[in-house]
């Protein structure tokens, strides 16, 4: 409930405010969004599994975003930024797919 509310508020604010993203943050924003999406879907899965814990969700959300960003940052420092970005996106994408399939199983079983 709170998650959906926050999502709606965030999207509405983002559409209407349209701030200038700092250039330093620009390449990391898509990665952050994908990582956060993964965390959100993981939370949804655990909710259906009845093992949802808000603390775990908050921590996993933050750690997901920070890890993804740091990984891409590291890649940029090492000169393999785009490759590592692709790797992160692929891994997160796989996780998102598995989460979605788990959610789907729960939804259609019940």
């Amino acid at each position: 409930m709170a998650a959906v509310l926050g999502l709606i508020i965030g999207i509405v604010v983002g559409i209407f405010v349209r701030p200038d993203i700092p250039v330093v943050l620009q390449p990391y924003l898509p990665i952050m969004v994908v990582a956060a999406l993964d965390a959100l879907l993981g939370a949804a899965r655990s909710y259906f599994e009845r093992s949802f814990s808000d603390k775990v969700f908050v921590i996993s959300f933050i750690s997901n975003v920070v890890t993804a960003t740091l990984l891409v940052l590291l890649g940029n420092q090492l000169g393999v930024g785009s490759q590592l970005q692709t790797a992160v996106i692929v891994v997160l994408g796989i996780r998102i797919f598995s989460n979605v399939s788990a959610i789907r199983r729960f939804v259609f079983q019940s």
């Binding site: 998650a3 959906v4 999406l37």
Partner: protein, 273 residues
């Protein structure tokens, strides 16, 4: 030996059976871990507080996610920072090629513009000359009215005898010699083909009968024109002495000759190309 082993066996069997039963009676399914009810042992006050904090945190985090999502969607500009070295090199070479092409195009267009400007200047010059020529020839052929410094000569009717055409024409010739530019005799514009003849009713010029007093409007240097008429033994004195006419020469700063004649259409003469 057998009797001693049997109870041992039985005990072991029982033990195994028991273990198996326990195993079989397990309610845990394996795929779904049992979720224990949480929060039963906690104090209700702290629980609701922490729950509220985490909900707020969730709202904030999800809000940030949505915010970032919306921004990313609304940000169509491709960031060069995310590009690899190869892509950037390609981009630079493409851009420089484009720049070169555009420079070339610009040079071409500039040349074209220059030539057009030159052509326009030439055209303007031609037009100016044509206009000048038109004015000059218009004045010369009597097609355009003229004004300027000059003299107005009034010749009254001769008291001794009628002024003849030759003397009148001589007057015009004298004025021409004195550098007259445009002149008119009564209401006849004097051009190169103007003639003066005598008829029964008096002088006639270019098909029009001239009435006395004759008025000659002439544009030119007033001093010269005046001298040409009034010179001793000239046409002025001849008019006075021979014909008894009264000749009056008035110099004026603004003589207006608005007598015009239609330009002649040539049947045989053509300009040389």
């Amino acid at each position: 030996m057998r009797s001693t082993r049997e109870p041992h066996d039985l005990l072991g069997k029982l033990h195994k059976q028991h273990a198996q039963d326990r195993e079989n009676d397990r309610t845990q399914t394996g795929s779904f871990p049992i979720v224990r009810k949480r929060g039963a042992g906690r104090s209700p006050n702290g629980s609701s507080r922490s729950r509220f904090t985490t909900s707020v945190l969730i709202v904030v985090l999800c809000g940030m996610l949505g915010f970032g999502f919306a921004i990313q969607i609304n940000n169509p500009t491709s960031s060069y920072e995310a590009m690899s070295e190869d892509e950037l090199t390609r981009l630079i070479s493409e851009t420089s090629t484009q720049v070169q092409n555009l420079e070339q195009r610009k040079t071409e267009l500039t040349n074209q513009l220059d030539s057009l400007k030159a052509a326009a200047d030439k055209q303007q010059e031609v037009e100016r000359i044509a206009k000048e020529n038109e004015e000059t020839s218009g004045l010369l052929s009597g097609r355009l009215p003229a004004q300027g410094k000059g003299v107005v000569i009034t010749v009254s009717k001769g008291s001794k005898e009628q002024i003849d055409a030759a003397t009148m024409f001589q007057l015009l010739e004298e004025l021409r010699n004195a550098g007259v530019e445009v002149m008119a005799l009564n209401n006849v514009r004097v051009v190169t083909s103007t003639y003066v003849v005598e008829t029964k009713s008096g002088l006639e010029s270019d098909g029009e009968t001239l009435k006395t007093p004759y008025t000659i409007k002439a544009i030119g240097d007033p001093q010269n024109l005046q001298n040409a008429v009034n010179i001793a033994g000239g046409v002025g004195s001849r008019l006075k002495v021979k014909f008894g006419a009264n000749v009056q020469v008035t110099s004026s700063d603004k003589v207006i000759i608005d007598e015009v004649r239609a330009s002649r259409s040539y049947t045989y003469a053509k300009t040389v190309e």
